[in-house]
Chain length 313, copies 2
């Protein structure tokens, strides 16, 4: 184990915010960010990796600050033309964003791995910290709903999470392996940090990669998660709806019941201070602080707090 | 032979103009436009077919009227981002234009032929006349220069035709075949029309497809070409420079010496009326009319004149 190194698990928007904070607190050699690729999808033959892109754009400072995803000042001229050609355009790919997917497709076709492509794109955008996909093999999140199985982006974007979720499965996971740098960090890191991402949509796909769940369960270092539910509501996205459909209590306690056996400490917002005893009854320690990240200062502050309680940084 | 049907040979801008005129004079079932694909090139793994695109955009009425190529009102946001990623951007692909190349790549990867993809894209843009690539197999024009061999677009766009041209060759031609609809039209048409495109850059690649040059030479119907040189100057592009480098007289007479044995009649501009005897001395008939196409009216007028002398339409 390499003391004072952090492996952060991230999905899209919420995870990316804390990841940005962590990059301001930890030197590049002391932080690896592993990102969910279960919601990757092909559009027009291009490889779109929404969570990787959100983390990358956020760390590079080019993200659309209003939405938390996509590139700032984006336009949709290519999409207009694609529509004219009769192509499906429910997934709103911007002109700048398309450049990412075009280059990713090109590099993958040239035989590079998704890890290598991600490293190249991040490097070009000036990102110095290591961002890695959960796997170099394709794993696709399939949402099992009351209307049947739906590919993740169709469920999430096209259908706006309307169908009732009964479960998720991760196609291809059985034949996949952790991306090399992810596997290395999982072995070497002193601390695991689960960013405030959706556990079912963003964290579970990462844990579905063979060997990962066990490695987390038996991880010898510190393990923390930040609750994405604050005051009984999701800060972003459909986490609350999904928790309710999957039979979880929509609260930080519900998040705790997901993370038991996976982490030792759940970081909860001050709003949820009174839930600490119920969470501790599940066998998790709690740490209470401000977890809502609106400004860069919020992000750095939460990252600093996490580094402090994990005794890194 | 199907009387009253025209097969028009076209390169980019100049050819597209007459092609547009012909579509206003001839019903869809009576016109096939075969387009040079020797200057096709891959950028970022996408398949760019500049002449096909120019013809398609022109016939669809979405072409940039100022340049004669590209889409009207184009923007370059994707390109800005590609540049940020360090990708080469000397070939200025616009955002709308990229949609074409993305879909073409996708369809080709799905196993469609270039003919099928072209038909689909044209149909989606509302084009009712048949536009076909010269071949469904890749043929690449290589420019032999005083600085060595240069791929066509590198020569044409990146190097702005500066190197002295010594010759051209068409890689892959030997293993290619005419696209099915091109082959059919070459067999069935009553008239061949060589649009005012550059003979060496745009027409010669089409003639390099196995069987095509012979079929043109022994074609039993009417055969006309429109001179792209007017008053000793190229209306567009590097034709004059290339003619001079290849040892041709830079005039309609030089064009005639290229087309002898290929066509019976050279259509020349009124400006070049006094050249008719020299052209006729080469064994070609001449027809003198206004060939400079600035307005749609010019294009339709020249097309009508050509239909008249070819006795079609």
């Amino acid at each position: 184990m390499n003391s004072d190194t952090v492996l952060a698990f991230s999905g899209g928007v919420g995870g990316a915010k804390l990841a940005l904070g962590l990059t301001r607190v930890l030197a590049p050699e002391r932080l690896t960010i592993v990102v969910n690729t279960g919601d990757d999808e092909e559009f027009y033959g291009l490889h779109v990796a929404p969570d990787l892109d959100t983390v990358m754009y956020t760390l590079a400072g080019v993200v659309n600050a209003e939405t938390g995803w996509g590139v700032a000042g984006e336009s949709f001229r290519s999409l207009d033309m694609l529509k004219r050609y009769g192509a499906p355009t429910w997934f709103q790919l911007g002109d700048k964003d398309l450049a990412t997917h075009i280059l990713r497709r090109q590099r993958l076709d040239e035989g590079r791995t998704l890890s290598e492509v991600t490293e190249e794109l991040c490097h070009r955008l000036g990102i110095r910290h290591r961002v890695v996909p959960m796997s170099d093999q394709p794993i696709r999140s399939i949402v099992e709903t009351d209307e049947g199985d739906i590919a993740f982006q169709s469920y999430f974007v096209e259908r706006k999470c309307e169908p009732v979720m009964k479960g998720l499965r991760f196609e291809g996971a059985r034949d996949a392996a952790p991306a090399p740098e992810f596997g290395r960090a999982l072995h070497d890191a002193s601390t695991l940090v689960f960013c405030p991402s959706n556990p079912w949509l963003s964290v579970d796909p990462i844990l579905s990669v063979p060997g990962v769940r066990k490695a987390v369960q038996s991880f010898p270092g510190r393990r923390l998660a930040v609750s994405p539910i604050v005051g009984g509501k999701a800060l972003k996205g459909p986490a609350a709806k999904i928790m309710s459909e999957l039979g979880y209590e929509v609260s930080a306690v519900g998040i705790a019941s997901y993370y038991r056996n996976l982490v030792d400490t759940l970081v909860i917002d001050e709003t949820d201070r009174e839930l600490a005893p119920s969470i501790e009854a599940l066998g998790l320690a709690t740490h209470t602080t401000g977890t809502v990240m609106r400004t860069l200062e919020d992000k750095v502050s939460l990252a600093r707090e996490i580094s402090r309680i994990a005794d890194v940084g």
